[in-house]
Each structure stands twice: as structure tokens, then as C-alpha cells.
Symmetry: C2
Subunit: 134 residues, 2 copies
């Protein structure tokens, strides 16, 4: 809560509840899922506004896993980059270091600095890839 105040935000009950929900979660949640966990003691507009504010402070991040809503998680959940299956929606989160080789390959070829924390690596998971082999 200190970080919130230091960031120039007031500690309101809607905000505190949202933060608690985010801190209790061990995977990214949508705004709607978060609102449910608040027992309706807020509304979607406020949830989105607060998510944006907390993200500006760097306390949380959000990722887009395919279509569907954005998913939010506390930054302290650890740096994560994602691989998503286009076919079944399965996804895995990995430490950025696991993608360093991929990143440097892309850097050498295209001079792009690839990031898979906001938009994942898309493709086919092992199971779906196998199913399409034939």
C-alpha cells in the first residue's frame, strides 16, 4: 500500500480490494474475473481505471493471450513471457532468460528487441502440433 501512496494514488477500499485480489492470484486474471473476486464491491469502470493506474506505477502488468480480454497480474509474480497455443488456448509462462537465445537470434537477424510478455509467442502446443502431423 506504501507503493500506491508513493505513486501518488489514494488508498481507497475499491483499490485495496482490487490489489488484494491481484496479490492473491497466482495467474493472470481478466477485469471481469477480478470484479467477481471483489464480490461486486466495485464496478468494471473502476476496475479498469485502477488496473491502468497500477500498471502505470509498474505494480502490475497485463498480457493478451489470443483473443478474449486482457489478463492482469502483479509484477511481483515474477518476470514472465508466454507461449500460447492458437488451437487449444493452452499457454505456458517462462522466465525471460529461457527466451534469451530466441531474442538474440531475432536481434541479429532483424534488429528487433523481441518481448513476449505483452503478446505471447503464438503457435501450436506439443499436443496440437502432434495431432496435425499426419
Amino acid at each position: 500500500m506504501a507503493a500506491v501512496r508513493d505513486g501518488g494514488l489514494r488508498v481507497t477500499s475499491a483499490r485495496r480490494l482490487l490489489i488484494e485480489a491481484l496479490w492473491e492470484a497466482d495467474e493472470p486474471l481478466s477485469a471481469e474475473e477480478l470484479l467477481e473476486r471483489l464480490g461486486g464491491r466495485s464496478d468494471l469502470g473502476s476496475v479498469y481505471r485502477n488496473l491502468e493506474a497500477l500498471e502505470r506505477l509498474g505494480l502490475i502488468r497485463h498480457v493478451h493471450l489470443g483473443h478474449g480480454p486482457g489478463l492482469y497480474a502483479r509484477s511481483s509474480l515474477g518476470p514472465r513471457e508466454y507461449l500460447l497455443c492458437d488451437s487449444c488456448g493452452a499457454h505456458i509462462a517462462v522466465d525471460p532468460s529461457e527466451l534469451d537465445e530466441v531474442r538474440s537470434l531475432i536481434r541479429r537477424r532483424f534488429a528487433y528487441e523481441a518481448r513476449f510478455n505483452h503478446f505471447p509467442v503464438a503457435g501450436l502446443c506439443p499436443k496440437c502440433a502432434k495431432e496435425r502431423e499426419r
Copy 2:
């Protein structure tokens, strides 16, 4: 047009106009941009329905470059995979073979079969990456 009929679709004027617009374009366009090129001689509902139908036949593909609307292009525009800059929106299209090394690295590490034709590689383009170096 033969491919359309073979696919079980009728060749209607709305459909033909849409196909012409797609075939004249040399980069992916949104449904709205396509409708403009039809001079309003159709409507968004039909455009989306036809885009979906043509995509089912494999005649076109669509890509999501960041937020914003999906972008559609004829498949014959050539196999393309995309790199997108999260910061300035710049993007480049490359032949899949240029990403084969990246793909096999990801395959070895995660057994995922990466595809960057529907969702791009996201990150920072050379210019934006340089600006953040300091």
C-alpha cells in the same frame, strides 16, 4: 472466382467487389478500409461474413498487429510472418524461412510450433530499441 464457386460459395457482386479489393491490395487491410474501397456498395456485416467465408476456403488470411482491428490479405500475397513494434506500431513482413531458426530453437526448448502469421513477434523496432538504450 472459380475457387469461390468450387468452395461452394456463390459469386455475388458484394463478394466479387470485396475479392477485387483484396486482390488489388499489397498489404493487409481492415474490414473498414476494405468497405471504403467498395465505395459503400456493401456493409460491414457482409464484409465480415465474407471475409470469414473466404478465410475458411484458405483464399485469405488475417493478422492482428497489436490492438486495433484485424487486417486481411489474400493468401497469394505470399506466406508472411510479422514483427511488430509495441512502441511505434511499425511492422515488417518476412518470409517464414527467415524465422526457421527461431522456430526450431523454440521447438527444441518448448516443443511449441511457433507461428507468427496470425500474431506477430512483438517487441521494439530498431529505432525504438535504440531510443531506450540510455
